[in-house]
Each structure stands twice: as structure tokens, then as C-alpha cells.
Symmetry: C2
Subunit: 135 residues, 2 copies
């Protein structure tokens, strides 16, 4: 929990109890969680926590560059504390999202383009995960 405190400061985010709890969850659970997953996980130990706070908190984290919002899931926003350049895999069957590999300089290189000022890239793979193949 103290770690999250420190971690937040690195991104100039004032650490409140709620923010530290959310960041702590993200750091310890690398599952690209939805807002709901975060809320449900923290709610038992923080009964007064509001879902709006979780929304606010993640908006702030994204704005400060501490967390990356993923578009890979059409249903819910997904959040990733790992801000390094890497691709994701989403299972069509169970919906789980996994880190799949680091992007090499080739892929990660943002192309020059006269019509668009490009500032980021998201690479997503889709298919069926090991666990779901076994069923």
C-alpha cells in the first residue's frame, strides 16, 4: 500500500486512500480489469467506496499517464498499469485479456503521416485462449 503511494507520486497524483487502493489493486492484479472488477474487488474492504470514484480515479490515472486505457474490449473499458509498449490478446470465448508480447521497434514505430498526427498505437490479437480450448 505504501508502494502505491510512492508510485502515484511518480506520476504527480496526490495519493488519497481511494487512489492508493485502486493503484494497489492494479499493481497486484495484472488482469486489465474493468471498472466493475476493480469496484467489486475493493468494495468489501472499503464499504463506502463509490463506483463514481473508481471512474474518476481511472480517468485521472489515464490523464496523468500512470495507466493506459485499452479499446480492445467493446463492452467495457479496460485498464493496464503496464505502460510499456506491448500487444494484447483477447479471448473471444471468455473475454479475458492477456499481455502477449513486447512490441519491437519496428512495430511500435509511429509512422509519419501527412493527414494525421499520430501519438499512439494499440495492437490487439483475438482468438481462443488455452483455458477455453480445453473446454
Amino acid at each position: 500500500m505504501l508502494e502505491s503511494h510512492q508510485y502515484l507520486r511518480q506520476f504527480s497524483i496526490k495519493p488519497s486512500v481511494q487512489r492508493s487502493a485502486v493503484m494497489n489493486f492494479l499493481l497486484k492484479n495484472r488482469i486489465h480489469p474493468t471498472i466493475d472488477e476493480i469496484y467489486l474487488a475493493l468494495s468489501p474492504s472499503m464499504p463506502t467506496l463509490s463506483k463514481t470514484t473508481v471512474y474518476n480515479t481511472l480517468d485521472l490515472f489515464v490523464e496523468k499517464g500512470a495507466v493506459r486505457a485499452l479499446a480492445i474490449d467493446e463492452k467495457n473499458a479496460r485498464y493496464d498499469v503496464d505502460i510499456s509498449a506491448h500487444a494484447h490478446f483477447k479471448c473471444r470465448s471468455c473475454g479475458s485479456i492477456h499481455d502477449i508480447f513486447d512490441l519491437n521497434a519496428n512495430m511500435y514505430q509511429l509512422p509519419e503521416n501527412k493527414s494525421f498526427k499520430i501519438d499512439s498505437i494499440e495492437i490487439s490479437y483475438f482468438g481462443i485462449c488455452e483455458h477455453c480450448i480445453g473446454n
Copy 2:
């Protein structure tokens, strides 16, 4: 409209009036439209058209492989009749989505992976478009 008819058959989709109209719109308007955009565009000339039908129709098109659903926009599902391997760009400011370039064999190659059975890839770039820079 006859073209759409033919086009649908290529994907073994039985062409109804509604399906042909939707496909025709997609073929003539390469804007990666949302359900709502399609509905609003067709509604004037097809007053009885229901939004549920547009949802059903696009689900069917995707299932039959005639259309690709894009995850690039967190708010709404986006649909693309161009099923060739190409990347997209989304403007953070106006939300418009554009084809940006064809994927070369390098990028499009689906990697072998022991944990996941990968069947598709989506590459998305984000930034600001020409038009929005000018404002």
C-alpha cells in the same frame, strides 16, 4: 442496390430489403459507421426500419464474415465492409476513423503462440486528424 444483393450472396447472406439497404450503405459510405449512423441514414427512405434490425443485420454480417467489427471506438461499435488487412486511425478530437495503411505481411502475420490460438489482429493508431489540427 442490385450490387449489394449480389454482394450479400457471396457471403451466403439471404438478401432482404433491409439487409441490401444496409450493405448498400456500407459499400457506398466508407466511414466505419456506427449503428446509429446507419439507422439515421436509412431511416428517411425506410420509415419502418427498426434499430433492432440494424443491430441484427450487422451481427449477421459479422458472423458471415462480410463485415468487420472494430473495437477502436470505446463508445460505439464501428463496422467496416473492407475486410482486407489494414490499420485504422482514430482522431481523439472529432472521433472520426480512417483507413491508414495496408498491413504488410510482416505485421499481419499472426504469431504462433502456445497459450493462445490467434485468428485475427487489429492495429489502431490514435492522434489528431488534419481537419482538427486546423481548428
